[in-house]
């Protein structure tokens, strides 16, 4: 029997730093809720809105798979491995922090906000060699279907990470009903609605609501026209 957990948008931890408006799905920084620590290997889901020219100054990370997906605007990235890049809306960025890296992420535009999801997954192996990658995806060319943007396999579609996780994005301009088949045994899926409305595993979802689903091999999703969803399949055991 499938199990589910529902997280409505309004129950997220909100923080306003002037230059950064953010909502934390799980405990992060000064937001601490012992009931909201993680969904399996999914530890951080931050919904960030960053003012023009502002951003996160140089800071370290280790032992975490860090995925960033801008949905509006662009993000300028620099890290201690010598990478310098701009990540645009329509691209996904991944960093395996492993034994340790420094990086900074700034809004690439001085007069436009950048809106993004910052997603952190526990790695399936500690102390790996740090790495960076980014890739473009095209939702408009695949409207009304899911587009895989992340997997554990470097030869599969999207970026790859050190975790048995698969991410799919979908943009729907019509009502659509389909079944999602989980790829990994013991995995769960965190369904996050970016825009519009959807029903997943029987749970009605508004914009920025989410439902986590596990103990099942598949579940149904129904989307309304104008809906965008992100599906994050992750191991439930860490």
């Amino acid at each position: 029997m499938a199990q589910t957990v529902f997280h409505s948008a309004g129950t997220r931890g909100a923080a306003s730093h002037g230059w950064l408006e953010t909502f934390h799905t799980f405990s992060f920084a000064k937001y601490y809720n012992p009931e909201r620590m993680n969904f399996g290997a999914l530890r951080v889901l931050n919904d960030d809105d960053i003012a023009g020219g502002r951003g996160f100054g140089e800071h370290p990370h280790d032992n975490m798979e860090i995925i960033t997906i801008p949905f509006e605007g662009a993000l300028k990235h620099e890290d201690s491995m010598g990478n310098e890049a701009v990540v645009q809306a329509g691209e996904i960025q991944v960093m395996s922090a492993g034994t340790g890296i420094y990086h900074k992420e700034f809004n690439a535009n001085p007069d436009q906000r950048v809106k993004l999801l910052q997603i952190w997954l526990f790695p399936n192996k500690r102390n790996v060699t740090p790495r960076y990658d980014q890739q473009a995806f095209d939702l408009d060319a695949h409207t009304n279907e899911l587009v895989q943007i992340l997997s554990p396999d470097e030869n599969d579609a999207g970026v790859w990470i050190h975790q048995d996780a698969w991410f799919n994005l979908g943009k729907f301009d019509q009502e659509k009903e389909f079944s999602y088949q989980l790829k990994g045994k013991g995995n769960g899926v965190y369904v996050f609605v970016l825009k519009g409305t959807a029903t997943a595993a029987g749970q009605d979802l508004q914009e920025r609501d989410a439902v986590g689903v596990w103990d099942t091999e598949s579940f149904n999703i129904k989307t309304a026209p104008g809906t965008q969803i992100l599906l994050m399949e992750v191991p439930m055991s860490i």
């Binding site: 992060f28 601490y32 012992p34 951080v44 800071h59 370290p60």
Partner: protein, 99 residues
């Protein structure tokens, strides 16, 4: 009020310094840094800690060795895997371990 003593293990000196700075910014906590397996054993034998925070850089057998040593000699010591390197997860990891 007595401070909570936290021993932090991490092989990257810059990241370890950040973690120590962040923890010590909380006046109820006091963090000590250990940069190796041997240093961690020394600190555990010479001090009293409530929490052992395992950061990045130790070999797998060293991490296992530390866990075995700590649980055998200091059964009340809580051991926490630290992820993220002084990131937004640090405080939640500590709160979670202490409650």
């Amino acid at each position: 009020m007595e401070k909570v003593e936290i021993l932090v293990v991490g092989c990257n000196p810059e990241i370890l310094a950040v973690i120590l700075r962040l923890i010590n910014a909380n006046e109820q906590w006091n963090a000590t840094g250990a940069a190796s397996y041997a240093e961690t054993i020394d600190f555990l034998q010479s001090g009293t800690y409530s929490l052992l925070l395992l950061g990045a850089g130790l070999a797998e057998d060293e991490e296992t060795g530390l866990r075995d040593f700590a649980s055998a000699n200091f059964p009340d010591l809580k051991i926490v895997d630290h992820f993220g390197g002084g990131s937004g997860l640090l405080f939640a990891e500590i709160y979670q371990a202490l409650t």
